[in-house]
Symmetry: C2
Subunit: 265 residues, 2 copies
Amino acid sequence: MKPAAPLKGTLFLVPTPLDFGCTPQDPAALALLLPNETVLVAARLRHWIAENAKSARAFLKRVDGDRGLAVPLQSIHITELPRQVHKKGDHTPTGAADAQARALLDPALQGHDMGMVSEAGMPAIADPGGSVVRAAHALGIEVRPLTGPISLMLALAASGLNGQSFAFVGYVPQDPAERGRRLRELESTALKAGQTQILIETPYRNAALLQALLHTLHPHTRLAVACGLGLPLQCTRSALLSEWKSGALAAGLPLDLPAVFLLGR
Amino acid sequence: MKPAAPLKGTLFLVPTPLDFGCTPQDPAALALLLPNETVLVAARLRHWIAENAKSARAFLKRVDGDRGLAVPLQSIHITELPRQVHKKGDHTPTGAADAQARALLDPALQGHDMGMVSEAGMPAIADPGGSVVRAAHALGIEVRPLTGPISLMLALAASGLNGQSFAFVGYVPQDPAERGRRLRELESTALKAGQTQILIETPYRNAALLQALLHTLHPHTRLAVACGLGLPLQCTRSALLSEWKSGALAAGLPLDLPAVFLLGR
C-alpha cells in the first residue's frame, strides 16, 4: 500500500515594517506597525523564503522581542531567492526560474507552513517573489497574504489622486532624454485616461527625479511626493505643477528617504 | 492684535477590516486585523469623515471593545461624504466637489485631528475620499495614511502575477458585448506590456464575470481570482486559462464573497 502523501503546508506572504535600515529598531514596537495575526504567524513559522536572509533574521529578531519565536532563531531555516528569480524588473515566467522557485517550496510539500518576506513591505509587490507564488499555485499549495504596510498604497491614499484607476510603473530611465520622454508618456496616460501613475526611484536619485518631473510636466498636472512612509519623518505633498514651481513645497521634503511619486489630474 | 490661527489638526486615513457585513464581528479580534498604531489613533479621534456613518459607528464600536474610545461614541462627530463627492467612478476634480470637501475639514482647521474611513479597507483606494485628501493638501492640513488591509494588494501578492507593473481598472461594463471588448483590451495590455490588470465586480455579478473571463481570454493568459480576502473562507486560485477550462479550479470558489480578478502573463 502506498503511504499517503503528507498534507501540504501553506505559503504565508508576510509583510514587514518599512523602517528597515532607516531608524533604530525597537523590537517592542512591532505591534504598532503590524496586526497581531501577522506577528503570530511569523512567530510560529520555521521555514522561510527571503529576498535577503540578513533582513529576514533582523525581522525575526523583532518578532522574538515582541512575543517570542516558537523555536530559537538559529534553528529557523531561511532560504534566499536565487538571483535569477528576483532580478529587479525580471518577472517574465521562464522554465528555469519556475523550477528554482518550485524547489524552494519543498518544505511546504513535506507539510510545513512557510513564510516569504522581502526586505521591507509586502513580498511580490514592487518586489520579487511572484515566481514562488506561481509555483505554489502550480503545486497546489495554499497561499495566504497577510496584512502590513504597502508604501505604494499608503502613498496613493495620501496623495488624493484618483484611487479608482491607477497604475504602478516602477522605475523610469536614468538617461535625461529618455526619462523626459517616459515622463511625458506617463503624463499623457494620466491625463487622458484619468489613471494615476505611480513611480519609484532609488533614494539617491529622488532629488533628480523630482527636478525632472518639475521640469517636464504640464502646469495643470497634479504631482504628489510621499517620502519616508512608515517612518516618523514621513511627509506627503500633493499639488498642481504650477503650485510646485515656487519651490516652497519641495523645500524640506526628506528626499533622502524612500519615496513614491504620483502624477495625475 | 490679531489672534494667532490655531495649529491645524492632521487628517488620518484609517483603514478598516475587510469583514464588514460578512462575518459576525468579535470586537476583541480587532488587534488581529489592524496594527496597534491604527487602533490607537482611531480610539482617540473625535471627528470623522465617513463613506457611511453606520459602518463608521460599527467600526468605532469594535475599537471601543478593543481598548476603549477616548470619549463616548455618542459624542463623536461623524460626517458622511456628500453623494456628489463619492459617487462611484466620479473622481474628476470639480469646483463644487472641492468646496464640499473643504467644508468637511473645518474641524481640522480648528485644530482637531480627524479620521476618514470607508466602508471596508483603505479610504481613497477603490473607494471615495480622494477629494477630501486633495482639499486637505490645499488647506495645508497634514495627511497621514495608516496601515491596514487593502484587498487589491492582498490579491495581487497572492496571485503570483507581475507585482512590479500593474494597473487597477475598477469595474468592466455589464453589457456582454462591451464587456468582451473591454476584457480583450485589458488582456492585450496585460500581455504586451506585461502589466497585470486588476478588476473588481459587485459580488452578485462575480460568477458572470468569471464566466466571461473564461470565455474570452487566450489559453496562455494567466487568470487569478481572490475571494473573501480578510475572511476565514478566503481563497485564491491562479492558473493559465487552459488550466481553468476544466472547471476544477472554479468549483468551490466562494464567489458570493467580495472578489478581486487579475489577469496577466
